[in-house]
């Protein structure tokens, strides 16, 4: 299948964990090339040309982001790698941290050089002890070999990478919250502008990139932007790690090209339904992506096609639900998550997520009347666009998405006075 383990062959083979194994597979050649033959602007141009977009969820072009760092500013700049992997349904970055940590380190060397950073941080979610240990081991190996530290590959470029553990806060996956968390403060997102590229960590120019984004960079440098563009679509170039969970026979992480039909991913790659029960709905890009109903599954997995359907590719986390799943319960579970994770800074999100959760609880019990569904939609709509970060928007989009797609199911609860799915 096209794009099958092209950029991350070490994940299924599990043969590039150590430095020696990674070197045997041609590792660190891209970093060597960049530091000995390329200017920082050349690197940025090559990544721009590749069309690589942020793999954490937002999908912003990585090269363009790097280009936002002002070139004429004196003093330190920073690279932060986002390994917070908090979006429910997402479990792809941990595969990189566990099986190809050197590929991430190499990507970080290249990105740091491109933006002129001599210090980089990897923000790892607090639960990932094993993953952080795997990465730290790789960093120590790289240091010992002289791939991190002073004068890398004989150049005058130096880089130090620090692993910084989070401690259980979904919102810290948002880049400005992540920056505050590295600064040792509560993970409250910051108002933008100024954008981190201008004023980020410690008030300095800072780039925050997802693990998968950075780990894709060595391939682009060693094989070229054109080779990367052989996969994917015009606007969604390259391959993607899809994390599939829920009601499929073979859940897991799979690298395929962007633009793969969702049905192919579910049927051919993941073996179809666990027990033959038809799929009822699919969340295509992490919990914040509104659901696709069974008759909307003829869609390709790229940024544009999913946006057209009113949802998003997000982090590439696909969650699959079979017939017999109560959509109200899933919506409620999702909103309770946001209520728990709302950082409390913005009133519409802090209060609104709780209101929406309590109303959904009442829907599940069948304790609302029909008109209340309008109120539910109204409360959700009023959170949208009124918060510092997109967490509040997600509360609105998920609620409105489920309500729109499964209105009849919501009404059935109210008519029955109970959950019709409960045994």
């Amino acid at each position: 299948m096209k794009g099958e383990w092209v950029i991350f062959p070490g994940i299924p083979k599990k043969d590039r964990k150590s430095l020696n194994e990674y070197l045997a597979a041609g590792g660190y050649e891209a970093a060597r090339k960049v530091l000995t033959q390329m200017g920082s602007q050349d690197v940025i141009e090559e990544v721009k040309k590749s069309g690589l977009r942020g793999r954490g969820g937002a999908g912003f072009p990585a090269g363009v982001k790097w280009g936002f760092v002002p070139r004429d500013v004196e003093g330190p700049r920073y690279l932060c790698c986002n390994a917070d992997e908090g979006e429910p349904g997402t479990f792809k970055d941990r595969e990189i941290l566990l099986h190809v940590p050197h590929q991430l380190i190499e990507g970080m060397i290249i990105a740091s050089y491109a933006i002129g950073a001599n210090k980089a941080f990897v923000y790892v979610r607090g639960e990932f002890h094993k993953e952080a240990a795997s990465l730290q081991r790789a960093i120590d190996e790289a240091k010992e070999k002289g791939f991190l530290g002073e004068n890398l590959f004989g150049s005058d470029f130096s880089l130090d990478i620090v692993v910084h553990m989070g401690a259980g806060a979904y919102v810290c996956g948002e880049e400005t919250a992540l920056i505050n968390s590295i600064e040792g403060r509560r993970g409250w997102p910051r108002l933008r502008p100024p954008f981190p590229a201008v004023k980020g960590l410690y008030g300095r120019p800072t780039i925050v990139n997802n693990v998968e984004t950075l780990a894709s960079v060595p391939f682009i440098i060693s094989r070229g932007a054109d080779e990367f563009r052989k996969y994917g679509t015009e606007k969604s170039a390259g391959t993607k790690l899809f994390a599939v969970s829920g009601w499929v026979k073979k859940p897991g992480v799979y690298e395929r090209e962007l633009g793969i039909p969702l049905k192919e991913l579910l049927e051919d790659v993941c073996g179809g339904s666990r027990d033959g029960r038809p799929f009822y709905f699919v969340i295509p890009g992490g919990i914040s992506a509104p659901p696709l109903t069974a008759d909307e599954l003829d869609v390709t997995m790229d940024y544009e096609a999913l946006a057209e359907k009113g949802t998003m590719l997000g982090s590439g986390a696909v969650m699959v639900f079979p017939e017999g799943t109560c959509p109200v319960r899933v919506a409620l579970r999702a909103i309770k998550f946001y209520e728990h994770e709302s950082c409390g800074q913005c009133t519409p999100c802090r209060e609104g997520s709780g209101w929406v959760a309590r109303m959904l609880e009442d829907v599940e019990k069948g304790q609302l009347v029909g008109e209340d569904l309008e109120l539910l939609a109204d409360v959700a709509q009023n959170i949208f666009g009124k918060t510092v970060c997109p967490l509040g928007d997600s509360v609105a989009l998920v609620t409105l998405g489920f309500l729109k797609k499964f209105r009849e199911e919501f009404e059935k609860h109210l008519d029955a006075g109970r959950c019709p799915y409960a045994e």
Binding site: P76, E85, G86, E87, P88, G89, T90, F91, R94, K119, R125, G126, E127, F128, H129, K130, V162, H164, M165, G166, A167, G168, A169, Y170, S181, I182, E183, G184, R185, R186, G187, Y202, A243, V244, S245, G246, W247, P251, G252, V253, I283, I287, A317, M319, F321, T325, R329, V330, R333, A334, F337, H340, E341, C343
Partner: protein, 160 residues
């Protein structure tokens, strides 16, 4: 120092602080260090950290209060945390929670009388392909079913 050991203080000063350009960044790793040593973070521990880092205790407490993984009161020797987010919920997380509750004789949020086990439900642990996921201290247990709960508890008791 009220509660921090010399080893922890030394580690904060010699290993954690030099990693960062600014001192406040050492707050989270110091809190982790203290939790690893003492099992939880008390008010006295907060004051100790503030003293070692020479930052206001209020700042350390503010940070501590924000993050759910820092325990603000003592927990059992084994902290059992069951993910109940959507993918785990679909594959039966609530049954797993019920099994732990029944076999430990505690509710969610409680600790057994012998101080051995605490039970919590948590949000997505980021391993949805192997649902149901349960984190016990630093370890992930995957593909957990209610039937496996007794065996997990036995193994933990033996290792205690």
């Amino acid at each position: 120092m009220k509660v921090l050991s010399d080893t922890t203080v030394k580690r904060i000063k010699e290993e954690i602080l030099p990693r960062y350009p600014e001192v406040t960044s050492a707050i989270l790793p110091s809190l982790w260090e203290v939790q690893r040593e003492l099992g939880w973070v008390s008010a006295d521990a907060v004051k100790d950290i503030a003293e070692v880092l020479n930052v206001p205790a209020e700042l350390v407490f503010d940070t501590l209060s924000f993050y759910t993984m820092f325990q603000k009161r003592p927990v059992g020797k084994f902290h059992i945390q069951v993910c109940t987010n959507v993918s785990c919920d679909l594959l039966g997380a609530m049954g797993v929670v019920e099994a732990f509750k029944k076999q430990l004789g505690v509710e969610v949020g409680e600790t057994t009388q012998d101080g051995m086990f605490s039970l919590s439900t948590v949000e997505c642990l980021g391993a949805c392909g192997e649902a149901v996921v349960v984190q016990i201290n630093d370890e992930y247990y995957t593909g957990v079913t209610p039937e496996k709960v007794a065996e997990i508890l036995e193994t933990l008791k033996r290792s205690a």
